[in-house]
Symmetry: C2
Subunit: 377 residues, 2 copies
Amino acid sequence: MIDPARNGKSPAFDPANLWILDHDDIAALEIGAGILGTGGGGNPYVGKLRCRQALEEGLTLSILPHQAIADDALCVAVGGIGAPVVGVERIREGREGLRCLRALEDHLGVSVDAIACEEIGGSNAMEPLLVAAYAGLPVIDCDGMGRAFPEMQMTTYSIYGHRSTPSAMCDVHGNVVIFQHAASELWHERMARACVVSQGGASDLASAPMTGAFIKKFGIPNSYTQAISLGRAVKDAQRTHSDPIAAICKQEKGRWLFSGKISDLTRHLRGGFVMGDIKLDGFDAYHCQTGSILIQNENLVFHREGIMECCVPDLILVLDVDTGEAITTEMLRYGQRVAVVALPCNGLLRSDAALSVVGPAAFGFADLIYTPLEAER
Amino acid sequence: MIDPARNGKSPAFDPANLWILDHDDIAALEIGAGILGTGGGGNPYVGKLRCRQALEEGLTLSILPHQAIADDALCVAVGGIGAPVVGVERIREGREGLRCLRALEDHLGVSVDAIACEEIGGSNAMEPLLVAAYAGLPVIDCDGMGRAFPEMQMTTYSIYGHRSTPSAMCDVHGNVVIFQHAASELWHERMARACVVSQGGASDLASAPMTGAFIKKFGIPNSYTQAISLGRAVKDAQRTHSDPIAAICKQEKGRWLFSGKISDLTRHLRGGFVMGDIKLDGFDAYHCQTGSILIQNENLVFHREGIMECCVPDLILVLDVDTGEAITTEMLRYGQRVAVVALPCNGLLRSDAALSVVGPAAFGFADLIYTPLEAER
């Protein structure tokens, strides 16, 4: 089903290199992508159900190693765009992403060789797998964030020079919009965000093709391998009744920041984003401490006793303290018992160019200074 | 400069039929299109200045009689989209409409033969003339509203079956968006409106080509002739010190509804529209009466003493009582002395199909029953 042949060109990849995912891999991906989603990236449970259905329909969900794609291959990143809180209530029709891919191919008069992932976090890890399965293509084992971020220009692809237009956006109603040219990556985000809000808040978008050479250089490597391994580590801890939070910290070189109960929660939908603030009352080692987390779709900044301790682009995870599984921002509830864990982000997100797009100032926290969390991975 | 030749096809029109506009025509069009704009359609003064500049640059502003276009000609309607209150503050760069036309031609792989007008009201009477001048094409003497309306689906083109996608939208920043497919004309409006708001509230849009045969059947005929004649009638009345309001009523079979002073005015920008309410205290024949007008970019409903007397799709004009010139909704001020005049709309706007799109219920006034103002024109 996966056919790397291209008209007159050498193959885009060797099918022998493909990693074909099964139900266990998807179950692990749900947990791992959920954790790396740092609260966002779309609800991973809904994404898992859709992947399971695809497997049951006989479709092939396949991953191509990051460095195994040909330099001249055309790679298109596809994913969901919108507010997670909408995506979990309004289930996708299913073929939005494929329609995006086809609209983009038709518009450009090209045939795409492989699918790329914008963000490994949440259901946006699954969306490229589904589109690729429908199209008979693999997904490259990398992504543009190494986590989830709320806005489109916040990918290593855009940060390191890819122009993401022309792009194609499709929704559940059958609407198709082509963003032919954006004056900047931020303009692309603004227009696409306005459009997805008008479409109801949960659509798909396929952005302009990248070459294999570009994606091998600027994609964050091995994202799917990482997410699935992380999910397996959590499942192993659950099965052996060992501490899943400790397992996550060990696997990902993370730091356990806080354990606490959600004592207050403000959250609302504004401009197509979930904006909010979590207040935490500590327990166990953090007894008598308070913590808080600011949200824009994802967890952005962690404060302890009013002092900032970790912020974007490093990953701030809000996990169920008992199971180790992620609690996405739309699933947060008063009284939940959570662990807060910080993971170091990929080095591609720590350059000056990257920090101007994904550092705290880019989210409006101009007074916060980003201090990298321990060593880079 | 105007060249009707097309590759291998018979000419789209006979250049001998063209009416070449001069400075006097544009001055009359400013007044006439302003009046027919029923408060909206973009500020006609800004439109006039841009047309004057085009004439001074040696460009040709030309009108083709409505029935003189070939049946198989490709006609594209181009106009401004946004809130009038933005359009008057943020002057256009100037070539947005031409970029729309070129983006649409490139996208479809066609060459357009003539420009059509969406709405004869306000500066949207001028915008097609400018685009046509830059492209070396004429504008057909008709429009899709016979006035101005706030939303894109409110044209006789859309009402009588034209699908206005694919369309192209361009803004001052250089952004280009193609609405490739909309599930309905209303979806096109919703997405385009969201997009124009994200672009700052004043962009241009070129909608999918119509055939000459279609536009001859469903365009509202002779709109430019009407607007320029109306403008001349007002200028004649001003010059001869006769009553310009009476001249407008005579020329357009209108009814003088009210004379009064604006005693209260609420107006705000919401969702890319100017929404508002004008309160009037009567004078002269209307002494001791009160009137009010509801606004969405345009004047929608006139009440006298709380009872509805005229509503969309008939035209409600708010005119300077001394000069007869239109006061557009963004130029309304407390204390202005105005005449309110009602004109009957074109019969194409009075069918059941049309009233479902441009009648009072389409604007949220579900309890108002449209009663046509006197005879159709």
